[in-house]
């Protein structure tokens, strides 16, 4: 994994900690929606808002639909931030 992605992953971990109040999962690039019980449609919107605000990006409709695991989010952010 490149340096850039590692930085993004660290920031993303903080956003996940902020969004999900329960600490019952191990955050990694492999984390998916299935690993986090709290990750429902409502918290998905909060997660999305927090990521967009933190990185100053905007996701399109397709991207939002696909953002169901950390790896995808990291890749999308990487595309937008380079």
């Amino acid at each position: 994994m490149s340096q850039d992605k590692a930085v993004t992953l660290d920031q993303l971990e903080l956003i996940f900690q902020d969004t999900f109040t329960e600490n019952t999962y191990a955050f990694s690039v492999n984390t998916t929606r299935d690993d986090i019980e709290e990750w429902d449609s409502l918290s998905h919107i909060r997660l999305l808002t927090a990521i967009e605000a933190n990185f100053g990006v905007q996701f399109d409709l397709d991207e939002i639909g696909n953002m169901t695991d950390v790896a995808t989010i990291v890749n999308l952010l990487h595309e937008k931030l380079v």
Binding site: T21, L42, I45, R46, D60
Partner: protein, 631 residues
């Protein structure tokens, strides 16, 4: 403004403090401290969840520090996401908000079905959270009737909903104006084109404002909020299409703050007094160092104009009934001279009800201001450019609202305005005259010093009192007094305008509104009573009086009147109640002083009885100009 810049940003250990909440020594205080920050939706959610995990006992301790309000919500959009933000913003504004949500889009069902969730649970108010998408603005114009425009159709629909909630559940509605989304069809001409959204919304909002004026319902002016932040920012079509969220999530905290400010205002919790620092708050520079010519205030200078705008704001607030005060570390004569002699100064010294310039600490001075004006600390907003002074006041007097300010004075005005401390739900004659009444009070206090005895003083005031049952002319002021009065208030029962209307029309209620005049001016309506009629007795459910007329034996005159009226109705007994709150210790012995006998006492209520025939008439030096007994 989405990040509520008048509030402090949450500290770095916010999440940790939420996690530790249940181990905190005084969790209710900690919740108040945490809710005061500018919370994002994630942070509101975290604190909300942490509060839910507290045990029932601790939660009721927290509720005890707040004013309860039950709010029903109907909407054409998804509101679930906003609930934690609503509840946290409510705590910030002193309200314990209980929410009754309904399923998305169930507006008509909830309104028209008498057995619906809201009509059955009868909350204090229903938030009718509808935006333009809830109404038939995009109907087929070719088949539309020429008789009825889209805005009329929409308004009729909303009127039916409001009327139905009123009739079936006795609730008032909080109704939204409609913000115009950033859609254009023919540019500048849209506002003139029949059937086009911009024109329809403009007509709708204007008609709604007129309609609300003559009803007990209140307006949440969403169009004004969107006007402030901008439609391209407010509306996020992605979120609407994906999950029916009506506005960009980033604006949920702002919407929650303004909604709960309105609810707090319905419960009389708007601020009453604006306390202002002087140097670098009302003018640029330091008068003690820079001198009269050195400070910047007035036209022709960017810094001077920035401060002039702040003065203009304060002056307008004063005209709307907000009390102004100065609290400044300054030499009093030098500070006064600035107001008297500087030509750029808009505010004058007599615009301030209290003027404190000295070298004492500001916390003591603000306490003194509150005592002089006879208002609670929680009714005060303190504006100071100095972060250290702000921090001291926040720590010493946490009840006081202290807005954050940036360094640049050109930004002061918009931040102070956006904080919406002085939310109003009506404008009464009393508001218009408040400052005059308070300055008359200062003159009355001066006479009191020279008068030989209290009774001499009262005689010299030449007081005239008049009594009447509730009526439509007094209604707004009655509602205001019921919801604002904290100190001279025996039971602190709060009622909405709809409920007051019921007392007015109900044969089982005896009501009194009391007006007082003296040689210094008209004090307006200063006391309100509501009695419930039983076969052999009247129970005084509400007895309250404005603090301005305390210690003038007005309550004696009121009691004489009430007893006379009871006698005339053939009632043999009056029963009064005292329900202690944090603020009404003043009237704990009220009924004893009037000659009532205590017949029961518990932590939550003392019960007092008076046998009407044994009442000794008080006859204070107040002339009765109109009695409700002969009426």
């Amino acid at each position: 403004m989405y990040d509520l810049p008048w509030l402090l940003a949450p500290p770095d250990d916010f999440n940790e403090r939420c996690a530790q909440l249940k181990y905190h020594k005084t969790p209710a205080d900690e919740v108040h401290a945490l809710a005061k920050y500018a919370l994002s939706i994630n942070q509101s959610n975290r604190l909300y969840q942490a509060i839910r995990k507290l045990n029932a006992n601790t939660r009721s301790l927290l509720a005890h520090t707040l004013t309860p309000f039950k709010l029903g919500i109907v909407s054409n959009a998804t509101m679930d996401l906003m609930i934690p933000s609503f509840v946290m913003a409510a705590i910030r504004n002193g309200v314990d908000l209980e929410l009754i949500t309904t399923d998305f889009g169930q507006v008509a069902q909830e309104a028209f079905d008498p057995d619906s969730k809201l009509n059955q649970s009868k909350p204090d108010a229903v938030l009718v959270a509808l935006d333009y998408r809830a109404y038939p603005f995009f109907g087929d114009q070719s088949v539309a009737s020429v008789q009825i425009t889209p805005s009329e159709k929409a308004l009729n629909y909303l009127q039916q909903i409001r009327e139905s909630f009123k009739q079936k559940g006795g609730m008032i509605c909080i109704v939204q104006t409609l913000a115009c989304p950033p859609y254009e069809f023919s540019g500048n001409f849209d506002v003139q084109l029949d059937g086009i959204l911009r024109k329809s919304l403009t007509e709708f909002n204007r008609a709604l404002v007129d309609d609300i004026k003559n009803s007990p319902d209140v307006l949440l002016d969403v169009a004004a909020i969107v006007n402030m932040v901008g439609a391209c920012h407010w509306f996020d079509d992605r979120q609407w299409y994906l999950s029916r969220v009506p506005m960009a999530n980033t604006y949920v905290p702002l919407y929650a703050e303004y909604l709960t400010k309105l609810i707090a205002a319905l419960r009389g919790k708007s601020k009453k007094c604006l306390v202002l620092d002087l140097d670098n708050t009302l003018w640029g520079g330091v008068i003690g160092d820079d001198g009269l010519e050195g400070i910047q205030i007035g036209q022709g200078h960017p810094v001077g104009e920035s401060f002039l705008a702040v003065q203009q704001w304060a002056k307008t607030l004063k005209d709307l009934g907000v009390l102004l005060a100065v609290c400044s570390k300054n030499d009093k004569d030098i500070a006064s001279e600035a107001f008297q002699r500087h030509s750029g100064m808009l505010l004058k010294k007599n615009d301030f009800a209290v003027f404190v310039a000295n070298w004492e600490d500001k916390a003591s001075n603000i306490r003194y201001i509150a005592e002089t004006l006879n208002i609670g600390l929680d009714a005060i907003v303190f504006v100071d450019d100095n972060p250290a002074e702000r921090e001291i006041i926040r720590t010493m007097l946490p009840e006081i609202s202290v807005p954050e300010l940036p360094k640049d004075p050109s930004q002061f005005l918009r931040i102070l305005c956006a904080a919406r401390y002085f939310e109003k739900i009506d404008f009464t004659d009393d508001d218009a005259q408040r400052n005059a009444q308070y300055s008359s009070n200062v003159r009355r206090q001066e006479i009191q010093k020279s008068a030989a005895s209290l009774d001499d003083y009262l005689v010299s005031l030449e007081m005239h009192i008049s009594f009447a049952p509730f009526d439509e002319f007094g209604r707004k002021r009655i509602v205001q007094l019921i919801n604002k009065t904290n100190q001279f208030n025996l039971t602190t029962r709060r009622y909405t305008e709809a409920e007051v209307l019921q007392f007015e029309n109900n044969e089982q209620s005896v009501t009194l509104q009391v007006h007082l005049q003296d040689k210094f001016g008209d004090n307006g309506m200063i006391s309100v009573l509501i009695c419930k009629v039983y076969k052999d007795r009247w129970e005084i459910e509400t007895w309250l009086m404005s603090c301005r007329v305390i210690k003038r034996r007005v309550e004696d005159a009121v009691c004489d009147e009430l007893v006379a009226r009871a006698r005339k109705s053939g009632v043999s007994r009056l029963r009064g109640f005292y329900r202690p709150t944090e603020k009404n210790g003043l009237v704990k012995e009220h009924y004893r002083r009037l000659g009532f006998e205590c017949v029961g006492s518990s932590d939550t209520e003392d019960v007092w009885d008076l046998v009407v025939d044994r009442y000794q008439i008080k006859n204070p030096p107040i002339k009765v100009t109109k009695s409700s007994v002969t009426a």
